[in-house]
């Protein structure tokens, strides 16, 4: 945005009429965000030019972090999430001796958006991390028994750490995609447990083994504006204006439902849940070939 050097109560004279209009539009957006969004929705579009059911482009890039056991970078429009998987060895729980651990976490640092201040993880980050954990558990992406090295002695712990580097709304979808892609990209070393020395030995030379991924979950998030308009894939501008969030989790290959959640008042006129499920199936149906996870 151009800064006008002289401080005048009237519009800056250094701008062309086109720049002036753009400036007024963005002032209107800042001061009256709700009215701004309502004007767009009345025409059937959203501020970024999409229709109400439109989705942003997704790109997935895996294996870029060489120090991690698996990694992925996902761009969902402007929302960018990078995820790395690190594996460690630990002793299993006493009552679950043959189950490993999967520890997902999402970090929303101050650099991704002015919404987040530096310091301990904000409520948003904690809530999203917990929801992602539930999503991965519900989808049973990775049977934890496959992470066992030696029952009751030694298991793998997979730390799936995602960091958002640019936040433009819908961090949940982007992060789930990143975590799933990173897990698919993960290769663990061949490990054996030595009974004599009571130690776990990883082979450096032998070829690494991929994880036993059973299912690939994908998600589609929606928001409800004004109790009757369903917006898919909300941006950071739209998110604070939405009263309700709906998320549908699907199996990528069969497009069957894994989990459905609605937080907030449903739509007054339509069956919001039903139409969101249809929209989610359509979205992942058509782009199934384009995104290779």
């Amino acid at each position: 945005m151009a800064y006008a050097a002289p401080i005048q109560p009237t519009a800056p004279t250094g701008l062309s009429s086109q720049e002036n209009e753009a400036l007024q539009a963005s002032i209107f957006q800042r001061l009256h965000p709700r009215a701004y969004l309502e004007r767009f929705l009345a025409e059937g579009f959203r501020p970024d030019g999409r229709t109400l059911e439109g989705w942003r482009d997704v790109s997935v890039n895996t294996g870029s972090i060489s120090t991690a056991d698996g990694s992925a970078l996902v761009r969902l429009g402007n929302t960018t999430v990078v995820c790395g998987v690190k594996a460690e060895i630990a002793e299993p729980e006493l009552d679950a001796g043959n189950r490993g651990f999967l520890v997902p976490n999402l970090d929303l640092p101050a650099m991704c958006s002015p919404r987040f201040k530096p310091g301990p993880p904000t409520d948003d980050a904690q809530v999203l991390s917990d929801r992602l954990n539930e999503a991965l558990i519900a989808s049973n992406i990775l049977p934890l028994e496959s992470l066992c090295i030696q029952p009751n002695k030694s298991v793998w712990v997979l730390y799936v750490d995602a960091t958002c580097i640019n936040y433009d709304g819908n961090a949940f979808d982007a992060t789930l995609l990143a975590m799933v892609a990173a897990l698919k990209n993960t290769r663990l070393p061949k490990t054996t447990y030595d009974e004599l020395t009571k130690r776990t030995i990883c082979s450096r030379k032998a070829e690494r083994i991929p994880l036993d991924i059973k299912r690939t979950p994908v998600s589609a998030s929606f928001g409800i504006f004004d109790s009757n308009r369903i917006l898919s894939d909300p941006t950071a501008f739209e998110e604070p204006l939405l009263d309700t969030t709906l998320t549908v989790l699907l199996d990528n290959s069969t497009r069957e439902l894994i989990s459905v959640s609605q937080f907030g008042l449903g739509s007054a006129s339509t069956d919001a849940l039903g139409s969101c499920i249809q929209a989610a199936k359509k979205r992942w149906g058509e782009s199934k070939d384009r995104i290779r996870l």
Binding site: R215, D251, L257, S259, V260, S261, F263, L265
Partner: protein, 240 residues
């Protein structure tokens, strides 16, 4: 459809807050909620046109973790549609929920029953305080589907291992609205528990079963406010 556990409601009368209530599905799944508000708000969380609604959840043991934060966020999004917050701008409505039943440490956890109890306890505490205008009462119940296809409403703790799908449903119930149904869905989470899948008819079925069961919860809430706990003669007029 399985039968639900007896509902236990009591108003403990915590001394330093504006309203408090305890809600339990049987004695195994219970929560205690307290409400203070409208009270003084921190400048950072002050909103110019409405009251700030803040929820915190405390587990039975241990310090509050990310799970408590997630539960607090869920309770907040379930209750927010029922509160008329713009009557008291620049104030704080503080809701603190204490769980009274233990959650298992490891392995798959079924916390939907507890979440239902927390939402119900919060509604009762808000009604008990009487200081926040409300549009309706948010009532919640957990539903599960067993392997054979049987729908269990408010399943017992020892039957939760049999469930292949489950979730919690919360509805805002208000009498007197001349609509087909007087309850609107405000919160839903329905998911598979053992790595299967489900289809839309199953979730619709579960939601209707929950909507039906929530009538009982609402009736229990209403009767708990009457002197002597007598049942409300208006109960027959309540339709969902």
């Amino acid at each position: 459809m399985g039968s639900s556990r007896p509902i236990e409601i009591s108003f403990d009368g915590l001394a330093r807050v504006d309203g408090s209530a305890r809600f339990g599905f049987g004695d195994a799944t219970a929560a205690l909620a307290s409400v203070s508000g409208p009270i003084e708000v921190r400048l950072a969380s002050e909103l110019p046109s409405q009251a700030t609604f803040d929820v915190s959840v405390r587990p039975l043991s241990n310090v509050p973790s990310t799970e408590s934060k997630s539960q607090a966020s869920s309770i907040r999004s379930a209750l927010a549609p029922s509160l008329i917050l713009n009557k008291n701008p620049r104030t704080l409505i503080q809701l603190v929920v204490q769980t009274l039943s233990p959650t298992p440490i490891s392995g798959p956890k079924w916390t939907d029953g507890l979440l239902g109890a927390m939402i119900n306890a919060s509604t009762l505490a808000l009604l008990n305080a009487g200081s926040v205008p409300m549009r309706g009462a948010v009532c919640a119940i957990a539903v599960g589907k067993a392997q054979g296809g049987e729908l269990l409403v408010d399943p017992e703790e020892d039957r939760t291992d049999e469930l292949v799908q489950g979730g919690c449903f919360a509805f805002m119930v208000a009498d007197g609205a001349r609509l087909g149904s007087n309850s609107t869905s405000v919160w839903t989470n329905w998911r598979t528990l053992k790595g299967g899948t489900f289809n839309e008819t199953e979730i619709a079925e579960a939601r209707e079963a929950a909507r039906d069961a929530v009538k009982r919860v609402y009736a229990a809430m209403k009767s708990s406010f009457l002197p002597g706990g007598a049942s409300d003669p208006d109960e027959e007029k309540m339709e969902t």
